[in-house]
């Protein structure tokens, strides 16, 4: 659907990005600020023109169309509601501009108000609404003309945590109910993981990996993706043996680990392996292959994060569930053994 490049002067904001977004999909562009995700979104909306490349919608190029000619609507970061109009006038604006009659617009506005749970608020001025309510109006306004694609530019970033979490669920529900393709932009990895069907992780104008939340979390394509999504341990080592999709890696601290390895990676030499904190296990056995010293223990309610240091000085985090059976996290300063179960570690492309 998309194959574009955008330059501002010599700065490549979007660098040869090719994406294929499926109909009825909740697709997220995830990346740190300045990675080009908003620029990409603005190109889809028509506010920016690609320096080169194509944007296809249903196999037809829309690159030459003005924003008001594209069946695509946007929910803006700060909502951009029209302050001189009521809630209903805001929601009906798109339909009115499309030349629909008042009799046609009114029931759709009512339906939209119901959809975003703002029944009866139609006559209120938008300036009198709370942040969460404005957010809903912005959604309803963008959904009312039934666009083929809805673009959402960090729409939840201005809301507080509680509201943000309930809006995440709300958005997911709206997407399922309307069947409209959502393209969501965010720098919040948690937001991306909880809502998306598929995620494209971006950095410096490039797309590094596209996949489902599970894919990206469990099989990050490279160091950036692994580090950006969730917490991760990076361990240095060298391959001693590579057999098919599994490599035996000898860590610098001396232990051997079996790690999954994607095809096409070099089968010898120094590598970095990645292990998620919840996959590591602390053993009381001090004679384990991998030994570490406990530095800090942070209590998080459902789990505790144990910060450790390996013999070679590299830091490791282990996430332990707090159960009621009496298992407690180790004391600070204790020497403990670490075990890495087979199949949880992965060799990274550097």
């Amino acid at each position: 659907m998309l194959n574009v490049k955008k330059e501002f002067g010599h700065f490549q904001a979007v660098d040869h990005v090719t994406l294929n977004i499926e109909p009825n999909e909740f697709f997220t562009l995830l990346g740190p600020s300045g990675c080009g995700k908003t620029t990409l979104l603005r190109m889809m909306a028509g506010f920016e023109t690609p320096t080169s490349g194509e944007i296809l919608l249903d196999k037809r190029s829309i690159a030459g169309l003005l924003p008001n000619e594209r069946p695509i609507n946007t929910v803006f970061q700060n909502y951009a509601l029209f302050p001189h109009m009521t809630v209903a006038e805001n929601i009906g604006f798109g339909l009115k501009m499309l030349g629909r009659s008042r009799a046609e617009i009114a029931p759709i506005v009512e339906e939209m108000l119901r959809l975003v749970r703002l029944e009866g608020a139609g006559d209120r001025p938008v300036t009198k609404l709370s942040g969460g309510q404005q957010q809903r109006v912005a959604l309803a306004r963008a959904l009312a003309p039934r666009p083929k694609v809805l673009l959402l530019d960090e729409p939840l970033s201005a809301l507080d945590l509680k509201l943000r979490q309930s809006m995440q669920i709300e958005l997911k529900r709206l997407q399922a109910e309307t069947g409209i393709t959502f393209v969501f932009v965010t720098h919040d990895q948690e937001e991306a993981l909880t809502m998306s069907d598929r995620i494209a992780v971006m950095s410096k104008g490039r797309v590094l990996q596209v996949g489902s939340a599970r894919d990206i979390y469990e099989h990050p394509a490279d160091r950036f993706v692994a580090g950006f999504i969730g917490e991760t341990n990076f361990l240095e080592g060298a391959i001693v043996e590579a057999k098919g999709k599994v490599a035996r890696v000898r860590l610098k601290s001396g232990a051997d680990v079996a790690a999954a390895m994607a095809e096409g990676l070099p089968t010898t030499g120094d590598v970095t392996i990645v292990v998620r904190p919840e996959h590591l296990q602390i053993a009381a056995d001090k004679d384990a292959a991998l030994c570490a010293t406990v530095e800090t223990v942070v209590y998080f309610g459902t789990d505790s994060h144990v910060h450790l240091r390996l013999a070679d000085g590299s830091p490791v985090i282990v996430r332990q569930q707090n159960r009621r059976d009496g298992t407690r996290p180790p004391d600070v300063g204790a020497e403990v053994g670490l075990s890495i179960p087979d199949g949880v570690a992965q060799v990274l492309k550097d």
């Binding site: 924003p67 001189h84 501009m97």
Partner: protein, 301 residues
């Protein structure tokens, strides 16, 4: 609690005291002269200027009627009324032209990068550095028969007779437009600069054409600036004196000239005062509508 309230009251009283110099000044130099003019308009003219201290509504009657010299009968006379109407039309025309030219200019300024905007504001205000009279005479030099435009046109052979521009209605309109354009540009610019251009994008995103974005989003949101600018242009051009006198050649009177005439060679101070009062009533009416319109609409600071 009572103490806090007392303190607040004291504080308020002190603050009110701060406005005293301004209030006194306005009373002495604005309200008092106005009262004098109001009083004069209800008196009889003295033979050599000034007024006779006799109550009379003659001046106001004289605005609409002419007194027969022999039998004192009143006949309707539209002369002054026509001058009023003419002036009113000039005021409206100046406002419309200023808006048509000023709005796009202000829009251009407001869409420049922030660093360059102040330079544009400076450029717009430069004409204010010189006197209105000087600027008006400068316009004369440009448009008179031997002026810049005609010299160029003649030497290029576009025309073989100078195009008469000076001492026409066109000249008056041009002069008024030139004098008061900044009064339109600056308030419109101020409100355009505050306009959130993401709203414009939202408009395009929701299928509005350029024209619809202008009429349904930009104009409603900058209406306070447009209204202020229009008043700031309309009021002074309605009462303009120098510009119509110099550029119109005094052939067609405007109210400003008419009032000056009554205090000058006609020596009819009451009539001049009455004209001033009528002029002011019109302006107040315009202000009143502006305030009511602003209060009625949604405020968007």
């Amino acid at each position: 609690m009572a103490e806090i309230k007392d303190m607040q009251r004291l504080d308020d009283a002190r603050r009110r005291l701060l406005t005293l110099p301004a209030v006194l000044f306005i009373l002495a130099f604005a309200a008092l002269p106005l009262l004098v003019v109001l009083a004069y308009s209800f008196m009889k003219p003295a033979t050599y200027g000034g007024v006779e201290w006799q109550l009379s509504a003659d001046a106001y009657v004289g605005f609409l009627f002419q007194k027969d010299i022999f039998d004192d009968s009143l006949t309707f006379s539209s002369e002054y009324l026509l001058i009023f109407a003419r002036t009113f039309l000039f005021g409206i025309a100046t406002t419309v032209v200023c808006l048509l030219i000023g709005f796009p200019t202000a829009y251009y300024m407001a869409t420049r990068p922030p660093q360059t905007r102040n330079w544009w504001v400076l450029l717009i205000t430069i004409p204010f550095w010189s006197n209105l009279l000087v600027r008006t005479i400068a316009v004369m030099f440009i448009i008179r028969d031997e002026g810049l435009i005609n010299t160029v046109l003649l030497s290029l052979g576009v025309v073989d007779q100078p195009v008469t521009m000076i001492f026409t209605d066109f000249a008056i309109l041009l002069g008024l437009f030139y004098s008061f354009l900044p009064f339109m540009i600056l308030p419109v610019y101020a409100s355009l600069e505050k306009l959130d251009f993401r709203l414009v994008e939202a408009g395009y995103d929701l299928y509005a054409s350029r024209f619809q974005v202008l009429t349904r989003i930009i104009i409603p949101l900058t209406w306070p600036g447009i209204a202020t600018g229009s008043l700031l242009v309309f009021i002074p051009s309605f009462g303009a004196y120098v510009t119509p006198l110099l550029l119109g050649g005094g052939r067609h009177l405007m109210i400003g000239d008419l009032i000056a005439l009554q205090f000058g060679s006609s020596r009819n101070w009451p009539l001049g005062s009455a004209f001033s009062m009528i002029l002011m009533a019109f302006v107040m009416l315009a202000l009143f509508f502006q305030i009511r319109k602003n209060a009625g609409g949604v405020s968007h600071g």
